[in-house]
């Protein structure tokens, strides 16, 4: 346990030292929340009555931190550590290199939770946001979306042999997920055809789940749950099959 905490402390410091994870994971979603609040916060959304834009966006914005850590932080760190033979070096110590992966999983979880809490604090303090649905259901959904997306991030790290390919794949996955899943731009304003296509993104389903739990909607969570658990299982199985330590 002491080993784990020391690693967490040092690797955590290293993560905080690189600005991009903080910027994309924390600053950007908080900024978007402020923007939405300033533009249109108190007004009701066009389609569904009774909810403000802030209320309907909260669930989506809360996933931006997950997106940044799952599709940037985790795969890029693993690819980099593998490339630099840091994972290999851990094989010749009494500690398993798996511990290093867990340390980074925890760091990224903390980062995305901090991001979500900050968004919540900003929305509540400045724009009078209240969650209509059950907070517990929301937290459960959030956790599921997070581990499901992290398993996909691990899969990217497993399939990409070099830092260069990991960089390309992360950009190709991260930006569409960010803009098409509804995480930043409200899904409802997309044209119908784009909505159909975007519905195939796992994060879109995750956001649907978070949205309905934050709004307390009675929609069936079946499809989102199937997609999220499916991604989780497939991500983990394929990662175990293809993961390389060096």
């Amino acid at each position: 346990m002491k080993k784990f905490l020391t690693l967490l402390k040092i690797e955590g410091k290293l993560s905080l030292r690189c600005i991009d994870s903080i910027f994309f994971g924390v600053c950007m979603p908080v900024g978007i929340m402020i923007l939405i609040g300033l533009i249109d916060g108190q007004n009701p959304t066009t389609s569904d009555a009774g909810t403000t834009l802030i209320q309907s966006s909260f669930g989506a914005l809360a996933t931006v931190g997950i997106c940044a850590t799952a599709f940037m932080g985790i795969p890029l760190t693993i690819a980099d550590y593998r490339d630099k033979k840091i994972l290999k070096q851990f094989f010749v110590t009494p500690v398993s290199p798996t511990m290093l992966l867990w340390v980074h999983a925890i760091i990224n979880m903390l980062l995305s939770v901090v991001s979500a809490l900050l968004i919540y604090a900003v929305a509540k303090t400045f724009f009078g946001y209240e969650m209509m649905g059950s907070k517990l259901a929301f937290m459960g959904s959030y956790l599921l979306v997070m581990i499901s997306m992290y398993s996909l991030g691990l899969l990217i790290a497993s399939l990409c042999r070099t830092v260069k390919t990991a960089n390309v794949v992360c950009s190709v996955v991260y930006f569409p997920m960010l803009f098409l899943s509804g995480a930043t731009i409200p899904f409802e304003i997309f044209p119908k055809s784009l909505q159909t296509a975007a519905a195939f993104l796992p994060l879109t389903q995750g956001i649907k789940l978070l949205k309905s739990s934050s709004l307390g909607l009675e929609t069936s969570p079946l499809i989102p749950l199937v997609v999220l658990f499916g991604s989780l299982v497939i991500g983990i199985i394929l990662s175990m099959r293809f993961f390389r330590w060096e």
């Binding site: 002491k2 080993k3 020391t6 690693l7 040092i10 690797e11 410091k13 290293l14 030292r17 690189c18 980099d80 550590y81 630099k84 033979k85 840091i86 290999k88 070096q89 851990f90 094989f91 010749v92 110590t93 009494p94 500690v95 398993s96």
Partner: protein, 240 residues
């Protein structure tokens, strides 16, 4: 006589290429053993097989009587390793990498003392990336000493070091040798091998050409210096 490292009939190939061909090595406790050979001879592959980092076709490996793949955690409490051209986490500082390595062991060495011994103590707060090539190399040897190892593996230990730094590393190693450390190293510098090694093995294309003590090998060759004797062995490819 206690045996620290024992390699029997080690074979390893990559595709069609034979990397290690029926290699036999025995390193006694307290001995400094040098594995020599040109680039691509199979030195690093041999070390990787001994450490359990690479699987091999057949043969057996024992370090301190243990199988490195099966008893990894127990073994590496007592074994230090410097891998060839190691690199570190981006923007990690010298003190932090030492603290991180020390945290992995049950009874680590005091790394402040080691930093002072290697004259790296003034760089504690500096990013590792900002160190010069020689200082980085010294740091990699230092990190391998953090477990207070009984057996130490050093792959190309002084590549890139200046004369003074090389001497400093040698002094630390000779000192540890007197305290009973077993050392397994690879090197391209024959003066270094003459200073440090009790026994050497010269390999080429995965094949052991000679295994002998340094004075014996020189005596068997028509030359007076190890470097000439080494080149003679490589040229003759005499298998002994």
């Amino acid at each position: 006589m206690e045996i620290s490292i024992e390699v029997k009939n080690l074979n390893k190939h990559y595709g069609n290429r034979i990397a290690v061909n029926n290699l036999n090595l025995t390193v006694k406790k307290g001995e400094v053993f040098g594995l020599l050979g040109p680039n691509g001879a199979g030195k690093s592959t041999t070390i990787d097989c001994i450490l359990g980092l690479k699987s091999f076709d057949n043969g057996s490996v024992r370090v301190l009587g243990m199988d490195p793949t099966k008893e990894r955690k127990r073994l590496f409490e007592r074994v230090g390793v410097q891998l060839q051209s190691s690199s570190y986490q981006g923007n990690i500082r010298v003190g932090e990498i030492c603290e991180e390595m020390a945290a992995l062991y049950r009874s680590p060495a005091n790394y402040d003392d080691l930093l002072a011994q290697f004259k790296l103590d003034q760089y504690q707060k500096q990013p590792v990336a900002k160190l010069s090539g020689g200082e980085k190399q010294k740091l990699s040897v230092l990190l391998a000493l953090i477990p207070q190892p009984e057996v130490l593996f050093l792959d190309e230990l002084t590549t890139g070091l200046d004369t003074e730094a090389r001497r400093a590393v040698w002094d630390v190693l000779i000192d540890l040798k007197e305290k009973g450390l077993t050392l397994f190293l690879t090197s391209h510098y024959m003066d270094e091998v003459e200073v440090l090694c009790d026994r050497i093995c010269i390999i080429n294309r995965g094949h052991a050409l000679v295994t002998d003590t340094v004075p014996e090998l020189i005596k068997r060759s028509p030359y007076q210096r190890l470097e000439d004797a080494y080149l003679w062995v490589m040229k003759e490819e005499i298998a002994v």
